[in-house]
Symmetry: C2
Subunit: 205 residues, 2 copies
């Protein structure tokens, strides 16, 4: 996709981006879901070692900065699915790919709880998860030999996968839930991902 060897510029850019989003998430966690308003842009920028103006060059809202990690991770979903062997059934490939992507390492409970149970972050969190949908749909279409422009199956399945991951996360955060995130995720995904697309493609036009 892109060179393993990035420019110094690109690497600096990447690392300040990570510094900002990491600082934003850390400060948000410190204040908790009810004190989000207390996390000022100035604090995030200072904690990341940049000026407030630079923070705004990278993110146009606090929510975006806080959820950047989730968004980046979701953006890798398509690639994760493509890396599975082509002869694997769709459901098994999806489950294996998503478990690898989302449990290596096991998610940080505090961070996940922050972005998933803070009303002000809800929209941005949904946006982050939905970033997986486009690439996922393409990967599904490629794997199943369906034409995404004519058949809704890839896009719908991608949306269902993103939704299942979200639901799994929410459930995993509930008090009393034992078991690894991988187990929960497998259970959620197996509810909605078929082994193969339906024979009669859904008509679209």
């Amino acid at each position: 996709m892109n060179d393993d060897v990035m420019d110094l510029r690109a690497r600096n850019k990447q690392s300040t981006r990570e510094a900002i989003s990491h600082a934003a998430l850390r400060l948000a966690i410190e204040q908790g879901p009810h004190g989000l308003a207390l996390v000022r842009v100035h604090d995030i920028a200072t904690a990341a070692g940049v000026s407030p103006r630079t923070y705004n060059n990278y993110f146009s809202s606090r929510a975006e900065a806080i959820c950047a990690f989730q968004a980046d991770q979701a953006g890798r979903a398509g690639q994760a699915l493509r890396s599975r062997p082509a002869d694997e059934p769709l459901d098994q490939a999806v489950i294996a790919a998503m478990i690898e992507l989302y449990t290596d390492p096991e998610p940080d409970r505090a961070g996940l709880r922050m972005i998933m149970s803070t009303p002000e972050l809800e929209g941005e969190a949904l946006k982050a998860f939905s970033m997986a949908e486009g690439p996922l749909a393409e990967a599904i279409a490629a794997r199943t030999g369906t034409d995404p422009a004519r058949d809704l199956f890839p896009a719908v399945t991608a949306a269902a996968i993103a939704g299942a991951i979200r639901v799994a996360g929410r459930h995993w955060l509930e008090p009393g839930t034992t078991g690894s995130f991988a187990t929960v995720l497998r259970g959620a995904l197996s509810c909605v991902v078929p082994a193969a697309p339906p024979q009669a493609p859904s008509p679209t036009r």
Copy 2:
């Protein structure tokens, strides 16, 4: 749910809310997806016949006001599913209920395009669609006799349904798509909603 007879206060409140959200959506459509920033709070309030301060008593952001109709509609999804006969298979009930909810009347293309293809509105639009999930999950659990606290099936399916509706909307807006929204919606939903929950409930703990 609530009395058919609302008091005058409640009716006024409801109509003010609708006036504001309607004005917000109308002005947004006038400016188009690329001119959203030109829609000022003051304009919305004036168009709705209230003061800017009152606008803020109802909505805490322009996006929220613009997407209020979608959010309200999504909030009725659970009720729509419950109104289907109890002996109908899950998939047929869901499809019938969602088609009734979302095609009576046929959606307004301009409005739907506005909220679904404007980046600044994306988060709020996703939030609006996701408002269907909670009630839908409860209705699904009730219909299938599953315990939502122990089985992920209802919540995952609800999320998949919301996602399918979203994808159907996006597809229906694409140029070159003929056919009613009902047709597209049926095709999308039939990709992910099973006739019955899987025999072995997904383990959750």
